[in-house]
């Protein structure tokens, strides 16, 4: 396998692999978040488990961080390499005649997601790390000790309409990114034509429904509070 991951096709496989992992992560993230709409208690339980179970914290979380960083760093590297493969641009190029907007603008939808991830980190991840590892409070309880803090924190975050707006826009970009990206990953991984049609339909449905679901959760908590 020497040199495989340095080759153009090896990198396609690696990119597809990181993408599949992210798609799986996103589904799991959604499954927990949607609990917050139906049952604050169940959401609290699940959050506490994810936030304190060692295998999640010390195995899955580092893998996730590596996966995300690998994905966007590789995205930037591929974009730079691909741009350099055509030094002189066309005076007139009708890209819309042969390809989707999404497929031609993965780097921009990706950058929008990256901007969102920075916001998301500041919103949820940094406070978590601060509470658990700086303050050393692993109980997951509210300051007054009356129940878990996770649902309260979530609901509080979505009071701000600016934040909700930013989340909605980010998930629209995520949907655009995945509408091309998910089925693209199946193609990169070498799916054959028979299977591909079903896989691509699945990818389309996922790419539209999942971001919509996240938007629903954000809006739900925003309006639920008022």
């Amino acid at each position: 396998m020497s040199g495989f991951f340095k080759s153009s096709i090896g990198r396609k496989y690696a990119m597809a692999l990181s993408a599949f992992f992210l798609m799986f992560f996103l589904l799991q993230h959604f499954a927990i978040n949607i609990l917050s709409v139906f049952s604050p208690d169940a959401f609290n339980e699940a959050s506490h488990f994810m936030g304190t179970f060692w295998a999640v914290q010390y195995v899955l979380q580092p893998v996730l961080i590596f996966g995300v960083i690998y994905h966007f760093v590789m995205g930037f590297i591929l974009e730079a390499k691909n741009r350099s493969a055509r030094v002189k641009k066309y005076a007139k190029n009708n890209g819309a005649a042969n390809s989707s907007w999404m497929s031609r603008n993965m780097i921009y939808s990706g950058l929008a997601i990256l901007a969102f991830l920075v916001l998301h980190f500041i919103d949820f991840w940094l406070p978590e790390i601060n509470t658990k590892f700086i303050d050393g409070d692993m109980t997951g309880l509210l300051p007054n000790g009356e129940g878990f803090r996770y649902y309260e924190e979530l609901a509080h975050k979505f009071e701000n309409p600016l934040r909700v707006g930013a989340y909605v826009i980010a998930f629209i970009f995520l949907s655009l990114h995945l509408m091309h990206g998910f089925s693209s990953a199946f193609q990169s991984a070498g799916a054959t034509s028979m299977r591909k049609e079903k896989l691509q339909l699945f990818a389309k449905v996922y790419s539209i429904l999942l971001p919509l679901g996240f938007i629903f959760i954000a809006l739900f908590h925003h309006f639920n509070h008022h």
């Binding site: 080759s7 153009s8 396609k12 055509r86 042969n98 693209s184 591909k196």
Partner: protein
């Protein structure tokens, strides 16, 4: 019909080059695009100017030599045709048509609309062949059973004429449709198995070396390919490449 043409003029590989406007009149809608270019060149020669250099050979869609990027698309707005088979009825009286060479770092411009597609030849030399002894002891073709499905798919892949429209259309100037077709036409047949591992490895290595970009599955190549080569061939090449690397 009367047309305005905006054409890339570049006197040699080193020159900077620029777009130049020309007018042609009384173009018949039955003319092919190259015949329209012939009319322009006759005009230029008569007025003592340098004619526009462009590649062509068969003028019937089989050699893959003609290579123009017309109004933002390789081989122009029609589907499933090369530039030589593009007809002027695709355009209207009074249109302005932009004509550029196929652009990619791996396809340097030689003059005007002529580019050097030697990179494709070097990829072919790296593995796009089978080694068979043809000196008098050839076997009967029917002696090797091949399924109809595999034969059809191999034939479809083999219709690639190496024109480079896939590279020209791709936002990444990727050559994966071409290489995918060339790998597939052998990968599907028993005769191709003997050298399968080295073939895909060497052809992909040469492709990377030539400076083509990396496929991001936009699908532009498949749409613009005059022979309708399917993206399926890229997926097959990826599988072949993975299995070749696993085998060592």
């Amino acid at each position: 019909m009367n047309l305005t043409l905006k054409i890339w003029r570049q006197s040699n590989a080193q020159a900077t080059g620029k777009m130049v406007d020309y007018k042609v009149t009384e173009i018949s809608e039955h003319m092919s695009f190259l015949e329209m270019m012939d009319v322009l060149n006759e005009q230029l020669i008569n007025s003592g100017e340098e004619p526009v250099a462009f590649d062509h050979d068969c003028r019937e869609g089989i050699c893959g030599m003609c290579s123009m990027f017309i109004n933002g698309e390789a081989h122009g707005p029609d589907r499933g045709v090369t530039t030589c088979q593009l007809h002027m009825r695709m355009f209207k009286d009074g249109d302005t048509i932009t004509i550029e060479p196929f652009r990619a770092k791996a396809f340097p411009v030689i003059k005007d609309l002529v580019v050097d597609r030697g990179a494709f030849d070097r990829i072919q030399h790296a593995g796009g062949y089978i080694s068979v002894n043809t000196s008098g002891n050839t076997q009967d073709a029917n002696g090797t059973p091949i399924s109809k499905h595999a034969a059809d798919e191999a034939m479809d892949a083999a219709t690639c004429i190496g024109c480079g429209a896939c590279v020209a259309s791709c936002k990444n100037a990727s050559a994966m449709l071409f290489v995918g077709a060339k790998v597939s036409q052998y990968a599907l047949l028993p005769q191709g198995q003997v050298e399968a591992v080295d073939r895909v490895k060497n052809m992909v290595a040469q492709m990377d070396l030539e400076g083509f970009g990396n496929c991001t599955n936009t699908g532009a190549c498949e749409v613009e390919c005059p022979k309708g080569i399917s993206l399926e061939n890229i997926a097959r090449m990826n599988r072949e490449f993975l299995s070749a690397n696993v085998k060592g």
